[in-house]
């Protein structure tokens, strides 16, 4: 709860305001009891006339209005404070998510992350809108009441003084339980979100495998799990308020008994004081009880805060970037791979790129070739600066990549990945995302033309304004690919990294694409993960990867001569039969 309390009590002015308002509310509570008792006393025992109590009634009216008004003010302050706190946390989480390196972004379930950002942050609310204001009230009001009671009748004051500490003591015990339980509850909620979103994405797959029912059962289980966790938290809350209720009831009973005996047997206390205390005592315990449930809420919030803190504290190995500009000369950059190593996890024995060494001159075309899983896409990620080599370096124009500003580098690069994501939006927006922001609609159309998708787009009723992605029109596999390729054509980058699609490009559009690529390569350095012989033959050099190692490097003809494995692969690609 430390972080939360720092955040709350750091806002001195607000806290001070809450204190002052609490003092006033305390005053109105006492005032209300006073006027009320005084009126009954005068009418009932002193048998005064109605006219005589009119001023008291007026006073009471004022106090009641004050109580309602200041309670409102108090609540408002809490709500505002909560809004600020939530905004603080959510901004931190958003920032964290957007700074995440690619590797870290892939881990975990998206639904879970959404839940942390939405639900856990919302859960913080209670701490600020409820717990803190209530805590301040509890620090002020019972004390004020106690002082007043002491002035009236010492013994009642003593009873209050002795019984009151039971409440915080009991709460502390319950609090420990609550925190653990509510952490569990938040965890269950995130788990549910994670499960639901993942299931949703794979719903078709599930149905085709006849697993929809089973998945429904699992959703149900997860949902019931969340219910049970929620009930777990609530049961503690209810039990604790039951206990607090008992404590306060016994205490009030004790006070009443003591007063009654003094009133009746000893006649040592005036009716006014007795009644006054009897009205004040429930208010005293009520504030404490309210604090009990607020405390509960607060513990719940701090459970969520822990979850947030955990998310925020996870340190990632960020890709390093520098401060330099990438001098945009007339030539596209040349690249060097020096002794590049990278692993997805050495300890776990996961895939590793080892010792990749290559020079990629400006204007050249390089093809990365290799079997599935040999590390082609991984290498492209390294070159793109999406992941950082663990050893060795990628150099651009003779300087390590991390020497340049991230922005400067990506400005020059177009990376067409193997599985591009279509954003929910219009076709034009989806192409525009690849540009530099200075394009016109005509540029977008030209890019679509070069990617061989213009014909399709123009045949649609709404053309470039057709919504695609989620909540949009579906596209065929190849159409999606081409839409992504259009992004690169819009940018006219000086470095092109292209994970060549093998999927569904028909041979007609293939021609259009080849033309366009040729045109692009006139002004840029191109690295392609190549599947087509055409691309391979056109390349100035081939990087032949085998299980993360650079098995061969050189032009196609040379490799064909010297590397039987390479030759075999190419032969098969052309439809030859295995030797």
């Amino acid at each position: 709860m430390k972080h939360l309390s720092k955040l709350a009590f750091g806002q001195r002015k607000v806290i001070l305001a809450l204190f002052i308002i609490s003092l006033i509310i305390g005053g109105t509570i006492i005032g209300q009891a006073y006027f009320f008792v005084a009126i009954v006393d005068r009418i009932f025992l002193e048998q005064q006339s109605f006219q005589e109590i009119v001023p008291l009634l007026a006073g009471l009216l004022l106090v009641l209005a004050g109580r309602a008004g200041f309670t409102w003010l108090h609540g408002r302050t809490g709500v505002k404070m909560a809004a600020r706190a939530k905004s603080h946390f959510r901004q931190a989480i958003i920032k964290k998510f957007s700074r995440n390196p690619i590797q870290a972004s892939l881990k975990g379930q998206s639904g879970r992350k959404v839940s942390v950002l939405m639900d856990s942050v919302d859960e913080i609310d209670g701490y600020f809108s409820n717990y803190v204001p209530q805590m301040i009230q509890t620090a002020v009001i019972p004390l004020m009441i106690l002082i007043v009671v002491f002035t009236q009748h010492i013994y009642s004051g003593l009873i209050m003084l002795i019984t009151a500490p039971f409440i915080p003591f009991f709460m502390a015990i319950v609090g420990v339980m609550t925190k653990k339980k509510s952490e569990e509850q938040m965890e269950k909620l995130s788990a549910f979100s994670g499960k639901f979103l993942d299931t949703l994405q794979g719903l078709t797959t599930l149905k085709l495998f006849g697993r929809a029912q089973k998945q429904k059962d699992e959703i149900e289980k997860s949902s019931l799990g969340f219910r049970d966790a929620t009930m777990g938290v609530l049961k503690v809350a209810f039990i604790s308020s039951l206990m607090l209720e008992f404590i306060s009831m016994l205490s009030i009973g004790l006070i009443a008994l003591e007063i009654a005996i003094r009133l009746v047997v000893y006649e040592s206390i005036p009716f006014f004081s007795a009644f006054f205390i009897l009205v004040l005592a429930p208010e005293f315990y009520l504030t404490l009880k309210d604090f009990g449930s607020a405390f509960h809420t607060g513990r719940g919030s701090s459970g969520a805060a822990n979850q947030l803190a955990e998310e925020l504290s996870e340190t990632e190995s960020y890709v390093e970037w520098g401060e330099e500009k990438l001098s945009a000369g007339s030539n596209p950059p040349f690249l060097e791979l020096e002794n590049v190593h990278f692993s997805y996890g050495k300890e776990e024995g996961l895939f590793a790129l080892e010792n990749i060494q290559a020079t990629i001159p400006a204007y050249s075309q390089t093809a990365i070739v290799g079997r599935s899983g040999s590390g082609k896409s991984t290498l492209l990620h390294v070159v793109a600066g999406l992941i950082q080599p663990s050893e060795g370096q990628v150099k651009v124009n003779g300087e390590v990549l991390s020497f340049y500003q991230e922005h400067e580098w990506f400005k020059e690069v177009s990376y067409i990945s193997q599985h591009p994501y279509l954003f929910s939006g219009t076709i034009a927006e989806n192409i525009a995302i690849g540009g530099r922001g200075d394009h016109t609609m005509n540029d977008i159309k030209a890019a679509a033309q070069r990617a061989g998708i213009a014909e399709l787009i123009e045949s649609l009723e709404r053309g470039y304004e057709t919504p695609v992605g989620e909540a949009g029109r579906g596209l065929s596999g190849g159409e999606k690919q081409r839409l992504a390729i259009a992004r690169a054509f819009l940018k006219r980058p000086s470095v092109i990294l292209f994970d060549e699609p093998t999927t569904g490009l028909d041979l007609k559009t293939e021609r259009i694409l080849q033309e366009s690529m040729k045109e692009l390569s006139k002004t840029s350095t191109v690295i392609t993960v190549a599947h087509r012989l055409h691309t391979i033959k056109n390349a100035d050099q081939i990087l032949f990867l085998d299980q993360g190692n650079l098995a061969a490097l050189g032009p196609h003809e040379v490799l064909m001569e010297r590397h039987p494995e390479y030759k075999e692969m190419v032969r098969l690609q052309q439809g030859g039969t295995p030797a």
Binding site: F44, I53, A68, Q91, F97, I102, E220, K376, G477, R532
Partner: protein, 569 residues
Amino acid sequence: MKDISQMIKLVAIEKKDVLLSILFGFLAGMAAVGLFASSGYLISRAALVPPLYALTVLIAFLKLFGFARALGRYAERYYSHRATFTMLSNIRVAFFEKLEPYAPRVFQKYRSGDLLARIVGDVESLQNFFLRVYYPPVVLVVIFLSTIVFTSVFSTSIAIVLLLGLTLTGVFVPFLFSLRQRTIENRVRESRGELSIDVTEFLYGFRDLKIYQQLEDKEERLHESSSSYIREQEREGMQRIFSHSVNTLVSLLISWVVLGLGAYLVARGDLNGLFLAMLVMISLTVFENATPMAVLPSHLEDSKRASRRLFSIGDEMIEDNGRLHLAGGESYGFELSGVDFRFPEEERQTLQQVNLKIPAGSKTALVGPSGSGKSTLLQLLLKIHTPNQGEILLNEHPMAQIDEESVWSKSNVVLQENHFFFGTVRENLQLAKDDLTDEQMLDALRDVELGSFQLDYPVFEKGENLSGGEKQRLAMARALLKGEQLWILDEPTSSIDALTERKIYERLFNQAEKDTLILVSHRLTGLELMDQIIVMDEGTIVEKGTYNELMHKQGYFYEMKQIEKTIFG
């Protein structure tokens, strides 16, 4: 009102808990009134120095009421929350059930983040429907009526004041706020949905955003959605606090009137002064139940919005009427005659006049340019879509009569894009069939050249830690494990190198020797072995025949083959 009637139906299922909540809510409320009434009476009585036994009896009553209130409150809370959260859980499941038949078209209408927001946020917010809207008014009315009857024994005019107070706090003030509610549009639910949508897309499209350097813009946008969500919440919070305070004020004023009136009556001698304290105490306590009524309209409105968002889904679903179940253990043949298909909301026909015969046990290849309708045709064969015209026969039965799930359960499908679930390789393979042994799964992995994978190897969401080809091979392994007799494969090896592809196909054709196999292929090599090749263009079948026939004919296929040569070799 339809949205709320759905909710009420759901509440009815938890009848028992609802009744118990009402019962205990009433008990607790009455006990509280009794408690304060008797304490007011006690003190007044004590002032008159009564005999001690009278006091003892009163104090005993006091304790009784005290315990009854505490226990009643506890039981009320317990039952009402249990009912509520069970209901919420049911709603979540019901929501998923409604959503499920939508696949695979669900994302043409909804966005994942939106659906997530609905099933989590909107469902959660419905707890207020039961806890604050549904049963509390019932409890309130019963408590008030009992109290008023009790009070009228002592003073009719005070009973009338209480009755007025009830209408004021329980009906009039809430009504005013509900009028106000209508004029200020409350967008908490919607803004929450928007934030959820933005975050989800941000996470899913993270890599592309990074590559295109759009992260900052999107981050900015997230901050904005978050702020507007928080602003809406704040506004709602403020409104509730305001309504609550107003109702508190009104109820305090009523107690004030009770006191004033009581004092006046006592002064005039119309009321015994002994009861004055008691009556005021009663009034103060009984209105504690009424103040939450002020926030009822706001919760009601919120619940309406939430349930509209939840229950509107699935309204336009067409139910599958197929009753016929495929027997299994046979191979399947298709016959399509005059099939037209148009995606809803699309003006163009995606498939036109498709006539096709796929004999049982045959091997068919489907080729054609991108967007020519190959995947769509497969979806029709799987009854994922139904034709607008024409008929599809599966083993002589009209497709419309066959239960869709039965079709799926009998086919081994590899889609163009396959989903992998967060978990392990084992969990993703186990989808294929129940009771798979580790050996079977390892064999299947070896068959698709993934022998190096361990079953406990983690799979990230959407298989993000697998290479393109590995994903396809894992999907193929799943299909091999399922081992049914109809194969529907949509470019299953497009990201796989030729050597690996060849090995996989060898095993596939081995296993599928007697089965019907329909394969979409982007490559035209290796099609010599197929029984027939269907060439599609722009939604129609332009050619069909065996490899040799088509090559001989020198038509469309031959031409494609020529172009391919220039590209691949």
